[in-house]
């Protein structure tokens, strides 16, 4: 099985505070990998490291390495912008730009220099269809994206990521701000997307992880406690800490 | 309070009140004429000699509105603005402030309005010719009439010539000067006269453009011959509401002269029913703080 990412001995510090501690794991292609763990354990940090969004934070120091498609993403000459077009990201809170729905989705391609209106139209439509949003918004592509409901906004953000034709999509608690019905739609969508994309998802929701992911990694205080097939983690974890967390009263 | 309120408040004038003394700032030509005229030359540039609590104002206009608002105030303004001011002008040493009395030298609070032209006209020959004609125009019957019409005080004589009589000496005026700009400036006190003169003279001299930028007497010399004469704000002709300083404002011979006189008149509020005449001695004492209440003058 091919890997999208190979993470090796990754350490990350925010100033003096250690946030990731010797993480070593592979993230397989075209599967859904879930990151779980209590708040502050480093899930988001790990996720953001994969497309180097941590670069934007001051005082971050990283060592160890991450290879994406065999290339060291921390290498000096490595093209971060390019990495980010290949590794898309969806955030916890839906954050459409204050523009029309169309412009939101066309944003990424436009940044890449695509100007042809027809091509853009095609990209936007296909992305919306793939994000299962097309039917709901097809008549109002010119309207502000801010007028959509929360769930629709989040699907819009996914469509926006898809429009870049990435290989990987990173998702940081994509449904935690949504109501159950919207959550269901997004989960369906994620399962659908898995056919084409590698997906890494952070979630607080144990059941969500169990429902949709192929592999699950459990982090605790910056350390990777256990990483395995999802059914093994949830039915038969090797570490007691994992078991304690999974069987905790939280859902 | 303006004229209409006088009768209502006259009776309320309290003679025991302190006299409030208004003066222009130390740079003012009016101030210079005033203090020199009352024999208190030291006070021209020395605020410390003045009664404490004096009020310093920034122009003829402020002086008018200030004394207009203070029934116990005393100040001095240009005679030309007395009529419209709503203030009471006092006779000085028994002599009424009139044009005739200025000219016959019985009224001694006065100041000259001066002009000065450039001395270096390199590259501005047309302008030079026009300004030369303008200066000549100021002493014609026509020009003097206009100066007088705008409150300048001057003597006319039967020997004055008409512009018609001398205009042939100034060829430049028979040309079309619509593209020539003449830059006037200097004293704001002279602005009204200068504008009236330039407007009508332009009609008589090929419709040159008159550009007026009046910023103060100090700029007259500075911008025609002094430090700024080659600067951005240079002038072709500048005006001053005082004599040019014999030390710092020495213009080239023949480039300056007097246009007319302006009288300074001591003014009090229209509600003031205490005095109509004042002596140099009295004013000096008031400004020096030796006379402090109106009752001392009654």
């Amino acid at each position: 099985m091919e890997n999208a990412f190979t993470i090796n001995q990754l350490n990350l510090k925010y100033g003096e505070k250690k946030a990731l501690d010797q993480i070593t794991m592979d993230i397989p292609k075209n599967q859904i990998t879930a990151l779980i763990g209590p708040s502050g354990c480093g899930k988001s940090t790990l996720l953001r490291t994969l497309n180097r969004m941590n670069d934007l934070i001051d005082n971050v120091r990283i060592d160890g390495d991450i290879r994406y498609e065999e290339q060291d993403i921390f290498a000096k000459e490595y093209d971060v912008i390019n990495l980010r077009t290949k590794v898309g990201m969806v955030f916890q809170k839906p954050n459409p730009f204050p523009m029309s729905i169309f412009d939101n989705i066309a944003y990424g391609p436009r940044c890449q220099g695509i100007k042809d209106r027809k091509v853009l139209q095609e990209i936007v439509e296909r992305s919306l269809i793939n994000a299962a949003l097309y039917d709901e918004v097809k008549d109002r592509l010119k309207e502000s994206a801010k007028e959509l409901s929360g769930g629709q906004q989040q699907r819009l953000c996914i469509a926006r990521a898809i429009a870049m034709e990435p290989d990987v999509i990173l998702m940081d608690e994509p449904t935690s701000a949504l109501d159950p019905i919207a959550t269901a739609k997004i989960e369906d969508l994620i399962l659908e997307l898995k056919k084409k994309y590698t997906i890494v998802i952070v979630t607080h929701n144990m059941q969500q992880a169990a429902r949709i992911s192929d592999n699950t990694a459990f982090l605790l205080m910056g350390e990777l406690i256990e990483y395995d097939k999802t059914d093994i983690i949830f039915s038969n974890p090797k570490e007691t800490k994992t078991e304690e967390y999974i069987t905790g009263r939280f859902g | 309070g303006t004229e209409d309120t006088t009768t209502a408040t006259t009776s309320s004038f309290d003679q025991t009140s302190l006299i409030k003394v208004y003066t222009r700032d130390t740079t003012s030509g009016t101030r210079e004429a005033f203090f020199k005229g009352i024999g208190f030359s030291d006070a021209v540039e020395d605020n410390a000699l003045l009664v404490s609590g004096y009020i310093e104002v920034d122009g003829n206009g402020s002086m008018i509105s200030s004394v207009e608002g203070d029934e116990y105030g005393i100040g001095y303004i240009s005679l030309s603005s007395l009529e419209d001011s709503g203030l009471t002008g006092l006779s000085f040493e028994g002599v009424e402030a009139t044009e005739a009395n200025v000219l016959n030298d019985t009224y001694n609070l006065k100041r000259p309005f001066m002009y000065m032209t450039r001395s270096d006209w390199t590259g501005m020959e047309t302008e030079e010719a026009i300004v030369e004609a303008f200066v000549a125009y100021m002493s014609t019957v026509d020009g003097k009439a206009t100066i007088a019409n705008n409150s300048g005080i001057l003597e006319t004589s039967t020997s004055d010539q008409l512009w018609d009589d001398i205009k042939d000496n100034y060829d430049v005026c028979s040309l079309n000067n619509e593209n020539v700009t003449i830059r006037f400036g200097g004293s704001t006190s002279v602005e009204k006269i200068a504008k009236a003169l330039s407007a009508e003279f332009s009609a008589k001299c090929g419709n040159f453009i008159a550009d007026h930028n009046h910023t103060g007497s100090g700029d007259a010399y500075k911008r025609v011959q002094g430090s700024e004469s080659d600067g951005a704000n240079y002038l072709h002709i500048g005006f001053a509401s005082r004599s040019f300083s014999t030390e710092t404002e020495v213009g080239a011979d023949g480039t300056y002269g007097q246009m007319c006189w302006d009288a300074v008149v001591v003014v009090v509020n229209a509600d003031n029913n205490v005095i109509t005449n004042i002596t140099a001695e009295q004013v000096k004492k008031i400004y020096a703080g030796e006379i402090t209440t109106w009752s001392q003058l009654a």
């Binding site: 497309n51 980010r84 898309g88 730009f97 940044c111 | 019957v141 206009t146 006190s189």
Partner: protein, 398 residues
């Protein structure tokens, strides 16, 4: 019990706030009322669109005066004087700047004055008409009529005159069109200069500059210090620096619209920088992250997303700046000068409405009325700008 006491103190405080704020508002509105009260009588379309300089007509009359007597029209006021020999009616009046002048009320169509040879252009004619102002006449006998002596004296001189060597009369003038146009130019030019510099500076300071960098902090401090500089000092800077620079470049001389705009641009720079920075602060980081995560470069992120989202905030900064530009006088007196013009050329002198007010107020006799009338116009301009900016903001904010 307690609740009742609280209710009462609450009401007391509430009335106190209402009272004090109403006092504040009443005072502010009183400024309005004062300005309108003083200025509204002078307000007219003519004031707004008229030339400042009056056109001077210079004519003469050397023919034989016909002995016909003219008849006064019957609708003349009692303070109007009529010359039966010349067929002209005059009256004393005040011009827009508050100076005395003689208003020509009526000129009989048959009057010789209605049709005079032009003194300075042979073969041409000048035409006296009602509404003009009569300035000065030199009669054939060298007696002189001066407008300062009043209409009654003028008419009596007319009645005994036989011919006119020189008669000068003018159109009304004192309009503020030139200053109004200059003000508009100043607004546009100033914003063209200051907006890009200000916005780019704000972007640099907020988006690009390294955090906690000493040098950046110093730059920021220096920009902030600009806010504290009194405008009169900006004016001196304009006169000493911008006027010479512009003069050298354009080859024209003296203060001009461009040097004025540059000076104003420096004045409003801190306003634009700080308001833009404030706006940038309110833009959620999520936009930046979302854009970067889509593979946009930082400059793309800044110019396509951040700047666009901050447009409403920047527009209000523009509004503030316009207020400042319109209201500024102290600086402009030095940086552009006080000459009032009718034809506005950007490389030459002319002056703004605020300086126009200053000139009106600092002359020999201050004229509250005209100053107030111009202020009303300023207020109207600001009001219109205010409404349009608010409308634009509504339109562009998603």
């Amino acid at each position: 019990m307690k609740s009742r006491k609280r209710f009462i103190t609450d009401k007391i405080y509430q009335s106190l706030i209402t009272l004090i704020s109403l006092i504040g508002l009443v005072i502010l509105i009183a400024v309005f009322v004062f300005v309108f009260n003083k200025g509204s009588s002078l307000l007219s379309w003519d004031l707004l669109t008229g030339d400042y300089y009056s056109t001077v007509y210079d004519g003469y009359y050397d023919s034989e005066l016909t002995t016909n007597l003219f008849v006064a029209p019957d609708d003349l006021d009692s303070d109007t004087y009529f010359s039966t020999r010349w067929g002209i009616a005059l009256k004393d009046d005040l011009d827009r700047e508050g100076h005395d002048y003689i208003l020509i009320v009526y000129v009989d169509t048959e009057s010789p004055l209605a049709n005079l040879p032009d003194k300075n252009n042979e073969g041409e004619m000048v035409y006296m008409a009602s509404g003009q102002s009569l300035d000065k006449i030199i009669f054939s006998d060298n007696t002189i009529m001066l407008s300062s002596k009043g209409a009654e004296a003028a008419i009596s001189q007319f009645e005994s005159a036989t011919g006119i060597k020189d008669i000068m009369f003018t159109t009304a003038g004192k309009g503020i069109r030139g200053s109004l146009i200059t003000t508009m130019y100043l607004i546009i030019l100033t914003l063209i200069v200051a907006l890009p510099i200000g916005i780019l500076t704000a972007i640099y300071l907020h988006e690009f500059a390294p955090k906690n960098n000493k040098l950046v902090n110093i730059l920021r401090r220096m920009v902030e210090m600009l806010t504290g500089v009194p405008s009169i000092i900006f004016g001196l800077l304009g006169a000493a620096v911008f006027i010479p620079i512009v003069s050298t470049v354009t080859g024209t001389e003296g203060g001009n619209l461009i040097s004025g705009s540059l000076t104003l641009a420096v004045i409003i720079l801190p306003v634009i920088i700080s308001s833009t920075e404030e706006t940038l602060k309110t833009i959620p980081d999520e936009y930046r992250q979302a854009s970067l995560a889509l593979g946009a470069t930082k400059s793309q992120t800044t110019f396509k997303v951040i700047l666009k989202s901050s447009a409403p905030g920047i527009l209000s900064a523009v509004l503030l700046s316009i207020g400042r530009i319109i209201g500024e006088s102290a600086a402009l007196i030095y940086a552009i000068g006080t000459s009032i013009k009718d034809e506005i050329i950007v490389t030459e002198r002319s002056t703004s409405l605020a300086v126009h007010i200053w000139s009106v107020m600092s002359g020999e006799t201050p004229n509250f009325e005209l100053a107030s009338a111009i202020s009303i116009i300023i207020l109207l301009v600001v009001f219109v700008m205010n409404l349009s900016v608010k409308m634009i903001v509504k339109k562009i904010s998603y």
